[in-house]
Amino acid sequence: MATPLLQVCNLVVEFPTRRGTLTAVDDISFDIAEGEVLGVVGESGAGKSMTGAAVIGLLEPPGRIASGEILLEGRRIDNLPYEKMRRIRGREIGAIFQDPLTSLNPLYSIGRQLTETIMTHTDMTPTQARARAVELLAEVGIPAPERRVDQYPHQFSGGMRQRVVIALALCVNPRLIIADEPTTALDVSIQAQIIALLKRLCREHGTAVMLVTHDMGVIAETADRVAVMYAGRIAEIGPVREVIKNAKHPYTHGLMGSIPAIGHDADRLEQIPGSMPRLTDIPRGCAFNPRCLHAFDRCRQDRPELIAVEDGQVSCWLYDTSAGRTTAEAKAIVASRSGTAMERADG
């Protein structure tokens, strides 16, 4: 296989505070192939947005990359000087953030923001850049783009603004887009439009996407592979269908059971006891062990590494081959968590 587009190796993101250093992202590794959509899910505080910010070089100080490497097409980009990183941002890596209103400057017209970005990264003339801006607005499905291009962000609705933000991210054909909760601020019917648009454009342009979201439904529809994060670490990573239908990590398994679904008539939802640990007191060993129904001594002592299981990887000692357990046995243990799990499976 060729070099993946993006490689993240042993990334650690730290926040030095007065009360000690907080580790927001703790030694994670993954990669994204060209044209692939990688979903990154997790609950608040899992470190998913931090990972995205680290890749694009927009960690808010005092946050910093403490160790690890980020490679774009084999070149390291995590240690570049600010100016060089600025050239990569926009041209090679685009970004879409949650709130379309704060990603756009309210004082500049949409057209000016688009042409400015295009001219920064290419050597188009202002006339060419403007023509390209109109073309982009048409591409993201904004009606009457010739007229809309001179309007200001407040004249656009939420869904339309997010389309503009997508146009901004795509305007110089980046290789990779970091989309951090791109549909969270939108209503469901608009959300569907935005997902469809993002999928279509990325396929047409061959752009890879790192899609950060807490919404499993969005991931299910959009991503090729998914990484599930918990307390700054990757719990499980694999093809999206595998992770959703055939979750291996006890956390993923519990998470899937806790999502209410139309058509599932369970009286009670499966629930994971407790809540995510604070960054100040992440437990020893596996970060999930105090909430895990299957934790044993080793889970409380040693932190599990990602172990290749079937098509994916999972960081759980149950799947450690030295214990002499087969994958099927380990999965049976995870699935045996409660009666509700069985009821759900039976419909």
């Binding site: 469901v188 299910a220 139309i262 058509g263 599932h264």
Partner: protein, 364 residues
């Protein structure tokens, strides 16, 4: 059989809340001088424009819709945080619409609300025990301080918190725990009816599951009736007995939860159901329905959904549809359904075969 029917038949257990022709308009006009100088007309926002609903004792009525459809205004009208422009709200047969503050007092004891944001709805300077004790003191429900403390401890246990947590301040709790505190406060006055406005929208899914399970348990133990407002259809499906769908201040469809989700009739309900991303839909290509919710200040004439509706005709553009009773306890406000122009056919297959979820059809 008779016994079972009694439990499940809402009519037998009686109606707790009955809302008829409820309207709330907001005047959003520019100041008088601007209107005169710039010759602007008055602008009226019809946030809630004539809705009817009935909620039976012990049941959960789910209210869904996209932002700006008026569902939160309905919640605020029912608990009396807004006065209605027109219409009646009957709580156990007594009209509580437009009561004075003083008259509303005893009603409030029986009618409590849980808000969306557990970070904004708890006073950060109060200890949890004071937050939970406030309704007990306000309604004089306990004889002395010891009784108040006992009751607060009881309530905290009821929502699966430790009675000792009462000494802490809200900032020491996570979002899910704060929502438990809000629930304890709402239960403090022994209400019969809870209005829950997006109670789990600010929470992570695993915490949402804990809160939904807790609400189910409390409903069973205390015989509570819920009005549950959410934009999340799956949550509403999970928790509700009956569901109402709102669009631009109007109720477009109302039906038992199962019926609504298996055989949605109104084109808007179908659009909503068709657009929710589902775990079973990996890799599915969808054709999203275009358009957005129009500006509620200038809603389209006739049926307000017609600009986005694939079945719209001249009549839809001119005449406002009225709610029409359908078999199976549903009510639909749609000319197309009335005239039989909107083809029916299940959108969801039977719950026993979750595979069928993928077969959501796009109306041709």
């Amino acid at each position: 059989m008779a016994e079972a029917a009694k439990i499940h038949d809402p009519a037998a257990s009686g109606t707790v809340l009955k809302v008829a022709g409820l309207k709330r308009y907001f005047d959003v006009s520019a100041p008088w001088l601007n209107r005169v100088l710039e010759r602007q007309p008055r602008q009226i926002l019809k946030a809630v424009d004539g809705i009817d609903l009935e909620i039976a004792r012990g049941e959960t009525f789910g209210l869904v819709g996209e932002s700006g459809c008026g569902k939160s205004t309905v919640a605020r009208l029912i608990v009396g945080l807004h006065g209605p422009t027109a219409g009646s709200i009957e709580l156990e047969g007594r009209n509580i619409a437009g009561l004075s503050r003083k008259q509303m007092g005893p009603v409030r004891r029986r009618l409590q609300m849980i808000f969306q944001d557990p970070y904004a709805s708890l006073n950060p300077r109060w200890r949890v025990r004071d937050i939970v004790a406030e309704p007990i003191r306000a309604f004089g429900l306990a004889a002395d301080k010891a009784a108040v403390d006992r009751r607060v401890g009881e309530l905290l246990e009821q929502v699966r918190l430790n009675p000792r947590d009462g000494e802490k301040f809200p900032h020491e709790f996570s979002g899910g725990q704060r929502q438990r505190i809000s629930i304890a406060r709402a239960l403090a006055s022994n209400p019969e009816f809870l209005v829950c406005d997006e109670p789990t929208s600010a929470l992570d899914v695993s915490v949402q599951a804990q809160i939904l399970n807790l609400m189910r348990d409390l409903q069973r133990d205390l015989g509570l009736t819920y009005l549950f407002i959410s934009h999340n259809l799956a949550v509403v499906y999970h928790i509700s007995n009956r569901v109402g769908v709102m669009y631009l201040g109007k109720m477009v469809e109302q039906a038992p939860a199962k019926t609504l989700f298996t055989t949605p009739r109104h084109p808007y309900t179908r659009l909503l159901l068709d657009t929710i991303p589902d775990l079973d839909m990996t890799g599915r290509e969808r054709t999203p329905v275009g358009g957005e919710v129009p500006n509620p200040i200038t809603p389209p004439p006739g049926c307000s959904f017609h600009p986005r509706c694939p079945f719209a005709t001249e009549r839809c553009r001119a005449e406002m549809p009225q709610p029409l009773a359908m078999p199976g306890g549903a009510t639909v406000a749609c000319h197309g359904v009335e005239e039989g122009r909107v083809p029916d056919g299940p959108v969801l297959a039977a719950p026993a075969a979750p595979k069928g979820v993928t077969s959501v059809h796009a109306p041709e």
